[in-house]
C-alpha cells in the first residue's frame, strides 16, 4: 500500500509543484494589496457600501477592510477552496479512470492486493495532498501577516483551513465516485469540475435567489463556507456534514470499483 501511496504522489509531482506555486503566488499577491486597503480604509469602505446589496452579498463583502473580512473575501470564500477542490477532483477522478484509460489497470488489478486497498492508498494520497496544500496556504498567510500588518486570529485561520480541507475532502469523494463509474480520465475530471462549479454558483446566488433556499441546506459549499470560520471560528456542524458526506461517497466509490468491469483502452 505504501508503494502505491508514494506512486500516486510521484505521478502528480509536477502538477503538485505547480499547484503549490500557484497557491503561494495567489496568497502572496492577495495579501500584498492589503496595506493599500487599510491605507484607504474609509474611502474604500464607502466605495464598497455603494455597491449594490446583491453584489456585496454574492462576494460576502461584510467588513472587507478587516483582516478576517479581507481574507474571507479574497481567499477563503473562493480561491483557496477552489484550488483544493481542483486538486482533489483531478487526483480523485484520475485515480482509477487514468489507470483504465492508459491500460495500466490490467496489471495493477491482478497484483496480490485487493481493489479496496488500491483505492484506499489513492484516497490516502489525495487526502494528504489536500491537507498539505491547506496548511501551505495557512503557513503562507501566517508568514506574511506581519509584513502586511494584517490582524487575524490564528485559531480562526486554523478553522478556515479545516473548512477548506473538509470541502476538498468532500469533492475528493465525489471525484473518486465519478472516477469509479467512468473509464476515461478526461470525462471524469470534467464531470467533477462541473459539479463543483454548479455547487459554488448555487451557493453564491443563494443569498439573492429565494428559490435556492430549498436546496441550500444540501449544498456542500454552504456547509463549508456559510459558517464564515474566519469570523466565527470552527463550524463543527458544517465540517461534520462534509466529512461524513465525503466518507459516504468514498465508501460508495469503493463498492462500485470493487464490482466494476475494468475496460481496456
Amino acid at each position: 500500500m505504501i508503494a502505491l501511496y508514494f506512486k500516486t504522489w510521484r505521478d502528480h509531482w509536477k502538477t503538485l509543484l505547480a499547484w503549490c506555486f500557484t497557491l503561494m503566488l495567489l496568497v502572496s499577491i492577495q495579501m500584498s494589496i492589503y496595506p493599500s486597503i487599510t491605507k484607504n480604509k474609509e474611502a474604500l469602505q464607502g466605495f464598497l457600501d455603494s455597491y449594490p446589496e446583491a453584489i456585496r452579498k454574492i462576494f460576502r463583502m461584510q467588513d472587507y477592510t478587516s483582516g478576517a473580512g479581507f481574507l474571507s473575501t479574497e481567499l477563503y470564500s473562493f480561491m483557496v477552496p477552489l484550488v483544493l477542490i481542483a486538486v482533489g477532483a483531478t487526483w480523485g477522478a484520475s485515480a482509477t479512470a487514468e489507470e483504465e484509460d492508459e491500460g495500466t489497470a490490467d496489471v495493477l488489478l491482478t497484483l496480490p492486493i485487493s481493489r479496496t486497498r488500491i483505492l484506499l492508498s489513492k484516497i490516502a494520497a489525495t487526502t494528504t495532498v489536500v491537507i498539505f496544500l491547506s496548511f501551505l496556504a495557512m503557513a503562507n498567510v501566517l508568514a506574511l501577516r506581519g509584513v502586511v500588518d494584517l490582524t487575524i486570529d490564528s485559531g480562526k485561520l486554523f478553522a478556515a483551513t479545516i473548512s477548506s480541507i473538509s470541502l476538498g475532502f468532500f469533492f475528493t469523494g465525489i471525484a473518486f465516485l465519478i472516477g469509479s463509474f467512468s473509464q476515461r480520465k478526461g470525462s471524469a475530471i470534467g464531470v467533477v469540475t462541473g459539479v463543483s462549479l454548479i455547487a459554488f454558483l448555487i451557493y453564491s446566488l443563494s443569498a439573492l435567489v429565494d428559490d435556492f433556499d430549498a436546496i441550500a441546506p444540501y449544498n456542500p459549499m454552504e456547509w463549508g463556507l456559510k459558517g464564515q470560520p474566519l469570523f466565527n471560528g470552527l463550524d463543527a456542524g458544517g465540517n461534520f456534514k462534509l466529512v461524513i458526506g465525503g466518507l459516504v461517497l468514498l465508501v460508495l466509490a469503493i463498492m462500485k470499483f470493487d464490482k466494476k468491469d475494468i475496460s481496456t483502452p
Partner: protein
C-alpha cells in the same frame, strides 16, 4: 507435464449484449503444460483471460486456478499468477527498473536480481525511461513483469508482439524453462506459427465459442495445407485418383496443386513414383486450419 490441473474453465460465459463476449468456454490446462489459445482478432481470447483473472465479472460458469475459485477475488492466489496483457501498458514516467521494482514491491517481494537477470537475457537496458523505449523494448519490460516472480500459472496475451526474432527465441527459452519447472501457461495468439512449436495443446476460439481443444499433433493431422508438386514430365489428374486426403486438385502440365487434410504420406509416395523433383508446402494460415477444423467437426 503432470496430470494435475492448474487452470480449469467450465462453461465460462461473459455477455456484452447479445453478440459479443464468450459463451460457455471450457478447457483445462495442466501443470507443466503450455496451452496455445488461438483465435482470430476479436474472437474472445482476451475476454476469456480477463474474466478468468477477475478484471471483468463472469456472467455464468465456473473457473478455478490452482484449485481455488478464480471468480472470487483471492489475493493469495494472485501471488502465484503472472499476466502479460494484450495491451502491455506500463507507467511511462518510470525507468524500466523503477516500474518493475514497483510491481515487485506491490507483490511484497524484492526481485532486483531476477529483474536484472531477465533483462540481460532479453537485452534490455532497464535504466532507460519507459517513454524512451521502442515498442519491442516496452514489450520486454512486460515480459519481465510477468515472469520475474516465478509464477505457477501464467497468462500471456500475444506476448511476442513487437519482439525481434532473436529476442523471441530467448523468450521461448524462458517459456520452456518456466514450463519445465511445472508452471501452467496459457499462451494466447492469433498466429498459429507463433504457438505451434511452444504449445502442448491448442484451444481454438471463434466468435466467443471454443471450436476445438486438442493436441498439436492431432490438429496438424487435421489441418489443411496447400501443396504444390513439380514433375519432370507431364502428369494427369487421373494419376492421383486413388490418393487419399487430397482435394481441390489442379493439374497444369508438369505440376499439381492441391489441398491436403491429414497425412501427406500417400500423396508424397505417389509423387515419388511419378518422378517429382520439387515439393512446396504452404504454411497454413490460422484461418485455413480453422476452416479445416470446422469442416472436420
Amino acid at each position: 507435464m503432470s496430470s494435475k490441473t492448474s487452470v480449469s474453465l467450465n462453461k465460462l460465459s461473459k455477455y456484452y449484449g447479445s453478440t459479443r463476449g464468450i459463451f460457455e468456454v471450457t478447457f483445462d490446462v495442466l501443470a507443466g503444460e503450455v496451452m496455445g489459445f488461438l483465435g482470430p482478432n476479436g474472437a474472445g481470447k482476451t475476454t476469456a483471460i480477463r474474466t478468468l483473472l477477475g478484471l471483468i465479472k463472469a456472467t455464468s460458469g465456473a473457473a478455478t486456478i490452482l484449485g481455488k475459485n478464480a471468480l472470487i477475488p483471492n489475493v493469495e492466489l494472485r501471488r502465484k499468477i503472472g499476466y502479460l496483457p494484450g495491451i502491455a501498458a506500463t507507467y511511462d514516467r518510470y525507468t524500466a527498473l523503477g516500474y518493475l521494482d514497483f510491481i515487485a514491491r506491490m507483490r511484497g517481494l524484492e526481485l532486483e536480481a531476477e529483474i536484472r537477470k531477465l533483462a540481460r537475457r532479453l537485452d534490455l537496458d532497464i535504466n532507460e525511461h519507459i517513454h524512451d523505449l521502442s515498442k519491442g523494448n516496452r514489450q520486454k519490460v512486460s515480459v519481465i513483469q510477468a515472469f520475474m516472480h516465478s509464477p505457477d500459472v501464467l497468462f500471456l496475451d500475444e506476448p511476442t508482439s513487437g519482439l525481434d526474432p532473436l529476442v523471441q527465441r530467448e523468450f521461448e527459452k524462458i517459456l520452456d524453462e518456466t514450463r519445465d519447472r511445472g508452471a501452467a501457461i496459457v499462451l494466447s495468439s492469433h498466429v498459429l506459427s507463433e504457438v505451434e512449436h511452444l504449445a502442448n495443446r491448442i484451444a481454438i476460439i471463434d466468435r466467443g465459442e471454443i471450436v476445438i481443444v486438442d493436441e498439436i499433433s492431432t490438429l496438424k493431422a487435421k489441418a489443411r495445407r496447400r501443396i504444390d508438386l513439380f514433375f519432370d514430365s507431364k502428369i494427369k489428374r487421373d494419376d492421383f485418383n486413388k490418393v487419399p486426403n487430397i482435394k481441390e486438385i489442379e493439374v497444369e502440365d508438369g505440376s499439381l496443386h492441391c489441398v491436403v487434410t491429414g497425412s501427406e504420406h500417400e500423396l508424397l509416395k505417389r509423387a515419388v513414383e511419378l518422378g517429382v523433383n520439387e515439393v512446396r508446402t504452404q504454411e497454413s494460415s490460422l484461418e485455413e486450419i480453422f476452416l479445416g477444423l470446422v469442416s472436420a467437426k
